[in-house]
Point group: C2
Chain length 185, copies 2
DNA sequence: GTCTATATTCCGATAGAC
DNA sequence: GTCTATCGGAATATAGAC
């Protein structure tokens, strides 16, 4: 991995572990065994780094969408949920939650990039749920978009809340979501 | 209101608007027309202020529990949900979400205080849902605690996510939660 | 209880050598 | 592309006058 990508990786981990305002370029440089000034060579500002981090998440979502495009809706849903499972294993939170709570302290350009990511995810999950309902795999009686909002909020906050109640509750939330989408009402 | 309480109020608003690491004692003093050093007289450290903020939320939950103790479960649930509605009107997030995303950057004493608050809320909501099911007002087929986790995560993250998608989605999530608890499966 | 003044540390960012 | 060195500013916190 080149230095630029390594910086993005460390920056992402720090943002989702501690929050945007709780890490410094020194933290990043220390983790990579380089100097503060070298980080600034790749990312002139902290804002520029945060934007690159959000864009990296956006690309990962794109990849996951493409990889599962031909699969059935349950597999697609599990692919989406796996993002959170992986995140929970690190006891981190998701990039959306981390930056949303600090939203009014970050630059407008970061807010804008995050908004694009949220719209992409919401559109993706809405499509998965709609397709699943059409194929009688999922059952729910709200709009698909509303159901997507409920599923996403469950998962996003489960990462945060279960930092305080325990990891078992995260699995409980995830499994209940799947179970209830499968159940006929 | 005395200065101490005014500091707690401003500190709370700043934490839930921008995050713990994005505000300073100068921000607080500026908002109150006093000096940095005066804030330190009341709260020797930023950690001490954050603990007082969390304890204040805990007291408010106690008051809401007591005020609604004799009411029916639907009124109790609406009282609980009203916390988030009020928070959304300010476009802030809840104290649990704000500190949970920054959790690994704050002192252990804050983490501990937050854990107590989360346990109190989870226990309260679990009791409301259990009572509602016993009285045939709510209907769900998970444990009451699991249902409480789902309701709390929906609301907590709705505050965050709808900073990026719009306030209408917050109302949508809240109303769907109530509707689905009332509906027979 | 609030003030002025300041000590100390850290952070974001830049200049310029290699 | 990475380094040393440093600037300017901000933040937490404290000492001591009033």
């Amino acid at each position: 991995m080149n230095t630029r990508d390594a910086i993005i990786k460390v920056g992402d981990e720090l943002i989702r572990d501690r929050g945007f305002n709780a890490f410094s370029f020194y933290d990043v440089s220390k983790a990579l065994g380089i100097k503060n000034a070298s980080v600034h060579y790749h990312f002139p500002t902290k804002t520029a780094l945060a934007i690159a981090v959000v864009q990296q998440h956006s690309r990962l979502v794109d990849e996951l969408m493409q990889k599962t495009a031909a699969k059935d809706p349950l597999v697609k849903l599990q692919a989406f949920l796996s993002i959170y499972t992986y995140t929970k294993a690190e006891n981190k939170v998701c990039i959306v939650g981390s930056l949303a709570t600090d939203l009014h302290s970050v630059d407008g350009s970061i807010q804008q990039e995050l908004k694009l990511l949220v719209e992409k995810i919401l559109h993706w999950v809405t499509g998965i749920l709609e397709e699943g309902r059409n194929k009688k795999i999922f059952h729910f009686d709200t709009s698909a978009r509303t159901r997507a909002l409920l599923v996403i909020t469950n998962m996003l906050a489960a990462l945060q809340l279960t930092r305080l109640t325990g990891e078992k509750d995260f699995k409980l939330v995830k499994e209940t979501i799947i179970k209830e989408l499968k159940n006929k009402q």
